[in-house]
Every structure is written in structure tokens, then in C-alpha cells.
Symmetry: C2
Subunit: 121 residues, 2 copies
DNA sequence: TTTGTAATCAACCAATTAGTTGATCAACGA
DNA sequence: TCGTTGATCAACTAATTGGTTGATTACAAA
């Protein structure tokens, strides 16, 4: 199970695509917390927050431990790191290079093969 | 308009939470492309890909230029950078520190105030 | 055992989303 | 002007999501 699986990235980015879940992440970066503690700042029910945490857990962005009837939620920084790793693949691409070239690209794409950017992998 | 607005992060992470859109990003990192070119590898209609690109454009992850009847799509690496910036806020958090501490945290949370991690902002 | 608390499960609703098909717009080439 | 190509718009369907309320499980304290 690589940490940059397609489905894994799916669930992780999806999990972060919600302001409530991002605030939960921010809160957990200052230490673990229970569902009740996490739910407090929000104007939604505890059940709704519990669902959000399930989403984060499925995305492996957080883990839960067991302690009596409490189930403290912990941040999993390793998974966040996997996301930056994915993004960095593409944001490090040379920027302006193609911007002025694209007018030529589609014109020559049929005629001249090899001028188009080819897969550098 | 800061690049790390709440709504802005919303749309950006949401945009990346789809394998088709991530593949489009990957493709665009090798240079701009038209909708038809981007749609080719996928088993969905061109209209569907056009919608995906609209999502990426709203998230400001890509931009479009105008060239005759073609509308080449370009990657916007600056926006990707904003995402890594957000993530890095939280993934750089000290890891193991709280993991062993949380058993104490909830026990002392009611009695001793101030021992709990408080907002460092 | 009974009571109280932390959290989840289950069922349901409203809103959004990804995809489709069909029609339309815009620009080029003959 | 007419036909072709690139791309979007519009309307619709099926599936998913975020939220609710009410019931239930698990544990601890009395």
C-alpha cells in the first residue's frame, strides 16, 4: 500500500476539501482531541463532526486511539507529507517556458513530431 | 484576494480530489493542451472533461488563453504552491510529542487548566 | 444495578455533483 | 457562403454528500 495510491490521494484531497475538516486538522496539529472537543467550535451536531472525523480517518490523515470511553483523535503528519510530495511533482515545472510556445505547439503538433513536450519519465 | 482564502482552499483541494483532474494536472505539467487533447485518454465525453477544466479554472489551478477556436489550458504552479504552503503549516508539527501525552491530557483537562495545548496564535 | 457521559449507528432529507445527450456558438478553410 | 472543427451551454438523471434526529453501544462512577 503506497501512500500515493490513486484512491488514497482521492480520499485525502477530498478530505481536505472542506473547511470544517481543515479546521479539525489545524486543531489537531496542536495536539490530540476528543470528538466533543473538536465539535465544540462548530455550529453542527456532534454526529456530523464524527462523520467528518471518519472521513479524515479513512483518508488516513488522522488516527484514533482508545482510552476508556474516549477516543482521542491524532493527526498523521506522514499522510500530509504524501500530499505535498504529489503536488511538488508538478509545481516544480518550469513556468513561462510553454506559455509563449503553445501558439506554435498546436500548429506543429500534426506536422512536426518531436517538437512537442514529451514525457520526461 | 489572498491565495490561501478559506473558500479558495476549498475549491483547490476539491479540484484535486478527483483522479481525472489530477491526471489533467499531470498532463499540463508537460505543457499546455486543448480540451480535445486532454479528453482523449479518458473514457468520458468531451463535455465532461470541459466541466472538469472549469472546476480547475475556478480553483485557479489552470488558466486558459485564446487562440483561434482553440482555448489552450495552462497549469498555474503558483496555486499549487499555495496548497503546499497550507499543508506545511501542519505537517511540520512535532510528531510524537503528544502521542504519549494524550493519556494525561484528558484526565487533567477538567482539573488542571493550562496544561492543555492552547492556541499559540 | 443504575445513572451519566462519550461516541457511534441507522434512517432519512436537501443540496450538490459527475455524467449523459442534444443544441448552439465561434472561428477557420474551401 | 457553406461546411467543419473546437468548445461550451442547457437540461436532465443517478449517485453522493452534509446535515439532521433518535436509538444504541461502551465505559465509568455511584
Amino acid at each position: 500500500m503506497k501512500s500515493t495510491d490513486d484512491a488514497s490521494l482521492d480520499s485525502a484531497f477530498m478530505a481536505l476539501a472542506d473547511p470544517v475538516r481543515r479546521l479539525i486538522i489545524a486543531r489537531l496539529s496542536r495536539g490530540p482531541a476528543t470528538v466533543n472537543e473538536l465539535a465544540e467550535p462548530f455550529a453542527i451536531t456532534k454526529q456530523a463532526v464524527s462523520k467528518h472525523i471518519q472521513v479524515l480517518e479513512q483518508a488516513q490523515l488522522v488516527t484514533r486511539t482508545r482510552d476508556a470511553q474516549r477516543r482521542p483523535v491524532h493527526l498523521n503528519p506522514a499522510r500530509l507529507e504524501a500530499l505535498t510530495a504529489w503536488i511538488d511533482q508538478y509545481r516544480l515545472v518550469r513556468e513561462g517556458q510553454f506559455r509563449s510556445l503553445d501558439a506554435v505547439l498546436h500548429q506543429s503538433s500534426a506536422a512536426a513530431s518531436g517538437t512537442q513536450a514529451k514525457d520526461p519519465s
